[in-house]
């Protein structure tokens, strides 16, 4: 949440030997990850490789069959081990479709965490909400609109504003640029970089937007065949000899994205 002195690279997320199964089908087998404070970490991979499932497990919406996941050192993965409310205040999540509450206006949506978790006065909440709405680049007159009156790009920004309203330390983005046009998607990438710099965020994003990966990701983990095929910077992954990773990054789209950003 706060920018404080000493950005030592502490692990904020540790994923140890995580396996996930839905019935007989294996989604993950023995996944290991460490995500450090202050980085933009991307989870990439083809459709159906369990990227979003891994994200849901990290934020405690789903429990893996085996292994353990620690967020800020707190166990999120053991059944029955309820993470404390504090953990939930320390991270923000932007869901794929925004998941804005459709019965609330944009401003009310963004204000929900403040109203629920703090004793801040309505006037101050209104100011904070207006500040965050402006920060994510939404016009002031959109505050009173309902989610179904907003465009897809605006909805994403609104969801982002809600995710960062508590100034979390960690920000999870599930496919933040999927379905957006290239200009708006690039604008969204810029916004994430800007917020990361100003708010000192650690960002974990699930994406298969190659432009985003080249543009903003510090490290990338590529999922495939139920395991992590490769992990590293985009430059490192682009040199990988693993056939799936090679196909992923050296396909026509991958090369185009690399030429543009690399």
């Amino acid at each position: 949440m706060t920018t404080d002195i000493g950005h030592t690279a502490n692990p904020v997320i540790e994923v140890h030997h995580v396996s996930t199964r839905f019935g007989a089908s294996v989604v993950h087998e023995d996944i290991n990850l460490t995500i450090l404070q202050g980085e933009i970490f991307a989870i990439a991979g083809g459709n159906g490789t369990g990227k979003s499932t891994l994200l849901r497990e990290i934020i405690g919406l789903q429990t893996p069959a085996e292994g353990r996941i620690r967020l800020f050192g707190q166990d999120m993965s053991t059944v029955g081990a309820q993470p404390t409310q504090d953990v939930y205040r320390r991270f923000g999540v932007m869901f794929q479709q925004g998941a804005l509450f459709s019965s609330l206006t944009l401003a009310e949506n963004v204000a929900v965490p403040l109203k629920e978790h703090t004793d801040i006065s309505p006037a101050l909440i209104r100011d904070l909400v207006a500040l965050k709405i402006a920060t994510v680049g939404l016009p002031g007159d959109s505050a009173g609109k309902f989610p179904n009156e907003l465009s897809g790009g605006m909805r994403r920004r609104a969801a982002l504003a809600r995710a960062i309203i508590m100034d979390p330390e960690l920000l999870f983005l599930d496919e933040p640029t999927a379905g957006l046009d290239p200009i708006i998607a690039a604008g969204f990438d810029e916004l994430v970089l800007h917020l990361k710099a100003v708010l000192g965020l650690t960002v974990i994003m699930v994406t298969h937007d190659l432009d985003s990966l080249w543009r903003i990701a510090d490290r990338v983990a590529v999922l495939g065949n139920g395991t992590i095929l490769g992990i590293g910077t985009m430059e490192e992954l682009a040199r990988s000899t693993d056939p799936t990773i090679h196909e992923y990054f050296q396909g026509p789209r991958g090369r185009a994205a690399q030429r543009q950003h690399g």
Binding site: M1, T2, T3, D4, I5, G6, S102, S103, L114, T118, D119, I120, S121, L124, R126, D127, L128, A130, L131, K132, I133, A134, T135, G140, D141, A143, G144, F146, N148, M166, D167, A197, V198, L199, G200
Partner: protein, 375 residues
């Protein structure tokens, strides 16, 4: 950052009447305390107020905002301000607040009811009637078109609907009709026994049930069961853009969704009415046997002689109209849902209430008309 420094409460100290010393965590969890403290302070009036902020251990946008706001108010009042010791990363936050401040204040203007908003309100609340007529008209057109070409009817959807809305409704309809028969006979039995007119319980149960109570009870049940389901199903399809997909595929949502449901109810409701009639009369006969010592043979003989066929036909004849009202209102409300989860609940409720209301109004109109016609 350590947890200890984060949890340090924010403090504001005034030293030598010209130095403001800020300490602790200027973060959202402590924001209310901070805001109250800042608002309560009487700022000393000096040439230059020194703000020593070097001891602020943690700051987020909330803290940055109240600090920026306080400084901005002081400056606006002509007070010189000198901020010292601000950490560069906190300065970035202050800069962020500063760059967006014009969007935070002034706040959005109060909404006033002007002629344009009145017009908007009017058009919002008067359009439904026109929409409803259009919907009824379109449905009617589709009904006649499919009657001429039965291949247009979606038989699979129709049978699915028949199973869900007809067969699955049998247990509850039967139970309720039976109980209603019992209740009517009991209430009548008390009165009739006083006059020794026990036998008239047959007329009472037979006529009231076949003519009014049977069809009404079925209609009300089906409005609650199926009318609400239709509104919610179609509404959800609207929310998930399935209706748009149907249209872009060159299909008619009315043909695909409304027609099978209307036809299914037109078939199911009269059949359910017959079934409810039987069980209601059985309930009545049971009470007559128990309370009024009327044997089953006596009951049936009297029933055959005195309960005219027309009562049954009128009851069952009203049922298809009830069915049309329920199915059309339910589907119509489903189409009225506008991409909002709240709306699904609201329109479903409206659908059920409206269809029960219209069913009873229609029933009353029938009663008046039949009494004029002496049938």
């Amino acid at each position: 950052m350590s947890g200890k420094s984060q949890n340090a409460l924010p403090h504001i100290l005034i030293l030598n009447d010209s130095v403001i010393q800020c300490e602790g965590s200027w973060t959202i969890p402590h924001l209310m305390r901070l805001d109250t403290a800042l608002n309560a302070i009487q700022w000393p009036v000096v040439k230059e107020l020194v703000w020593d902020v070097g001891n602020i251990r943690a700051m987020d946008t909330g803290g940055a905002m109240v600090l920026y706001r306080t400084l901005a108010i002081l400056r606006a009042n002509g007070q010189g301000v000198d901020v010292r010791g601000l950490r560069p990363e906190f300065d970035e936050l202050i800069q962020l607040v500063a760059s967006q401040w014009e969007h935070v204040h002034p706040t959005s203007p109060v909404k006033v009811l002007t002629p344009t908003t009145v017009h908007g309100w009017m058009s919002q609340h008067t359009v439904p009637l026109g929409n409803a007529l259009e919907f009824v008209g379109e449905t009617t057109v589709h009904v006649f078109r499919s009657l001429r070409r039965p291949s247009l009817i979606r038989w699979q959807a129709l049978f699915h609907s028949l199973e869900l809305d007809g067969i699955h409704a049998l247990p509850i309809t039967g139970l309720l009709a039976f109980l209603m028969g019992v209740v009517i006979a009991y209430q009548g039995a008390e009165q009739l026994r006083q006059f020794g007119a026990n036998i008239f319980v047959v007329d009472l149960v037979g006529i009231s049930f076949l003519r009014e109570i049977g069809p009404l009870i079925v209609a009300i049940l089906i409005a609650g069961r199926s009318g609400s389901a239709y509104a919610a199903q179609i509404g959800t399809m609207k929310v998930t853009e399935e209706l748009d997909a149907i249209k872009t595929l060159g299909l008619s949502p009315i043909q695909l969704l409304v027609l099978p449901r209307v036809l299914a109810l037109v078939i199911a409701v009269p059949l359910l009415t017959v079934y409810a009639d039987i069980l209601g009369v059985v309930g009545g006969a049971l009470v007559a046997f128990n309370e009024l010592d009327l044997s089953l043979t006596e009951f049936l003989t009297r029933f055959e002689e005195w309960v005219a066929l027309r009562h049954f036909l009128i009851g069952v004849g009203k049922a298809p109209f009830f069915a049309i009202i329920i199915a059309v209102v339910g589907c119509y409300q489903g189409f009225q849902i506008r991409g909002n989860v709240d709306d699904v609940g609201r329109k479903t409720t409206i659908g059920v209430v409206q269809s029960i209301f219209l069913v009873i109004v229609f029933d009353a109109a029938c009663s008046i008309a039949f009494s004029w016609l002496n049938i």
